[in-house]
Symmetry: C2
Subunit: 224 residues, 2 copies
């Protein structure tokens, strides 16, 4: 009996411009392309080994995400600084708390059970300091709330407001106190969802994202 074939790597389904966008976004957020740097389309295209067309489209998207600004006939300026990162964290807090509010109104018992399982795992990983596992669980936690809200567009908007990469998350969660704070906050969010308390879920999520966002901004820009 034939086994089903495995699905293709999702990266194979992406075009050049998505790869270019991710590569540049990552380089900006990680500080490899620092604030104020002036990029040149032809040079960046040559470095990446692509033509200017997918690069332009990627740059346009980065511009909408506030990470760069086109200065016609001068170059592309990297604008990702502490102020921009703060505003992006606020945008994310705003959107995530709206999502949490809707999730509190709409969540199923199954989804709550799933979240309980995730937070049990978080407790263990927090105590043992298993940072990679904690990152996975954190993503699963937020993904589950996104799913419960049923808001695909809000989720897509959120993706553009991320201001940290995996290295930054690992760094931040390497701190024991930070792990403790994050756990308490996730548990508060869960409690509000269990109570189907819209105001409570919104507040708990906003407080969580605003606080952890501040941490990310601080570590990203005070180690530059």
């Amino acid at each position: 009996m034939q086994r089903p074939l495995e699905t293709l790597d999702p990266n194979l389904l992406k075009g050049l411009r998505e790869h270019v966008h991710e590569r540049l976004r990552q380089a900006i957020i990680a500080g490899q392309l620092p604030t104020g740097m002036l990029l040149n389309e032809r040079k960046v295209a040559a470095e990446l080994g692509v033509s200017t067309t997918p690069l332009k489209e990627a740059l346009r998207r980065l511009e909408l995400e506030g990470l760069v600004r086109t200065e016609p006939r001068r170059g592309i300026r990297v604008t990702f600084d502490a102020g921009q990162a703060e505003e992006m964290a606020l945008a994310r807090a705003a959107l995530e708390s709206m999502v949490a509010r809707l999730a509190a109104a709409r969540i199923t018992d199954e989804a709550l059970d799933n979240l309980r399982g995730i937070t049990e795992g978080m407790k263990k990983a927090t105590q043992s300091g298993a940072v990679s596992r904690l990152i996975e669980l954190n993503e699963a936690f937020h993904d589950a709330i996104h799913a419960a809200s049923g808001c695909h567009y809000l989720k897509r908007l959120l993706v553009g407001q991320l201001i940290y990469d995996k290295a930054a998350r690992r760094f931040l969660l390497g701190d024991r106190d930070e792990r403790g704070r994050a756990l308490v906050e996730h548990l508060a969010i869960l409690a509000a969802l269990e109570a189907r308390d819209e105001d409570g879920a919104e507040r708990a999520m906003r407080d969580h994202i605003v606080r952890s966002g501040k941490q990310h901004v601080q570590t990203a820009f005070e180690r530059r």
Copy 2:
């Protein structure tokens, strides 16, 4: 003595892709390009009298704004429907209420005086049914709060979440009850700002945008 020259029309400072973006966005929101329609890049470019390059860039932006979806080798699908419009209204409510919260924390006495003046004008225009004036004042009101918050990026994000055009606004504010509700809500927002009540400003703004957003979705999709 020479008088200073007048500044140029800001539209002259925009490139083709911005004009194309605005034209398409307006056509989608007004229903001229209805939900589900399949657009073809070469045809649309020819209709607009431009090449496919600025059109592609405009389409990419519309895709990020959730109004269309590219189906490679098939066409560009218009995806702006009631569900998408609802999510955009929620996104706007989320962002506007974060802006209002920050404005409540940061607003100056001068800005409050300005808002009082605007709401005085709103009272008059509401009573007299001066819809165009009311639209102007509404924009000034929200612009003033945006300015008070100091968040340029959040303001730029907001622009992409608008789901109505001038015709829709005129239609909605043509209703006397709607004008009354909007006035009450604006006054509630002002009261919270005057009290520098962050939670109150956030709630009042969110309630305002969610409610008026529902109205816009209803009138936009139930008259199709």
